[in-house]
Subunit: 218 residues, 2 copies
């Protein structure tokens, strides 16, 4: 019985890792839509979010049935509840990639990102995508050491966001209000994806070690 | 035993309602700091967030001990898990009020909100604050009918956000990039507070009726 239960828990975590993979693809394609002003790719990201939502629902139903039927306690209980929180955050990361895609779509045939602002946004997008990819592996392999790496990636993200603000609030910003607003919001979305990635990774650490990781999420 | 358990569940929901009250105060004071360029009030909001975080931790610990010791099933289990999700969202709403306070603090002694943009932001802030206040009552009284009212408040919020974008992206916007970026982010924060309020209210409906409420949160 216990062994079957742990197989079920593993299955939940494999599903979570698969959702993280889906989110990574969604973030990558949203960025592609953004930088190439590609409406078709943007639409695919927006409509594809329903798959992530459906995957979340399946994980939730599975977790609830395990909670009800197996009545786990202690560590098993905390693992299942952590899984429920992780899936909510992963879905939210998918929503944030949809927000990026919607800004891309809004500006087609133009691109929302002026050429000179592109390096910073491209790097933010890359850092976010890499972080989501790491989260998928951290979940799949219960990789506590990998979670520590995410913290430094998140610091780079914060630094990039400060750079981006310096660029668009600088006296020599030539592009006016609309691109500045788009970039501020895009920066916010990528930063939130990174925050959630750190949070999900910290929950894996908690599941493995039993020790909560203190992080400031505000 | 069951009766004692339901008393405990009631106690969790009372704690959740109390946290919603704290969040309402935090949103109101963040708005006050914003519109009055009041650094002292902004600091109070920022440091006061630790109380909301601590209250969240207490609810989580209580919920976990109920899950472990009482092994609830079916509706009781769903209620407790819903409570865990609600407390996470309430804490997040507190974080968002901190973001508002930080923008206020950043611009002191100026105000981040130009005079002609103030009516829209003031109304957004008011709608957000009212929604959080309603959520506190909805939680405390398991008020399913009240949850429906929140949906229309959320529609007003969306409309206000569109208005705000029209203002700051209009050809006659005289204030330049920085206030536009501040307003876009402020709009995002108030809108997210409203989204979470709707989500928390929907979870109460789910707890009471057993029927999930479908809402698009992206």
């Amino acid at each position: 019985m216990r062994e079957a239960f742990h197989d079920q828990l593993d299955s939940v975590f494999n599903d979570l890792a698969a959702i993280a993979d889906q989110v990574q693809t969604s973030v990558a394609r949203a960025t592609e839509a953004l930088l190439n002003a590609d409406a078709e790719v943007a639409e695919a990201v927006i409509s594809g979010d329903a798959d992530i939502d459906a995957a979340r629902e399946r994980v939730e139903e599975h977790s609830f049935s395990l909670l009800s039927l197996q009545q786990p306690v202690a560590r098993d209980l905390r693992t299942l509840v952590a899984g429920l929180r992780m899936v909510a955050e992963l879905e939210r990361m998918g929503d944030l990639s949809v927000h990026v895609a919607k800004i891309a779509r809004l500006r087609v045939p133009d691109t929302a990102v002026p050429e000179d602002a592109e390096p910073t946004i491209r790097r933010m997008a890359m850092v976010a995508e890499l972080m989501v990819g790491k989260v998928a592996r951290i979940i799949a392999e219960r990789d506590v050491a990998g979670a520590a790496e995410l913290a430094s990636a998140d610091e780079e993200m914060d630094e990039l966001r400060r750079n981006s603000f310096r660029e668009l609030l600088g006296a020599d910003w030539p592009h006016g209000v609309e691109p500045a607003v788009d970039l501020a919001l895009l920066g916010r979305y990528y930063e939130r994806i990174a925050d959630h990635a750190v949070s999900v990774a910290n929950r894996v650490v908690y599941v493995v070690t039993g020790e909560p990781v203190v992080s400031s999420d505000a």
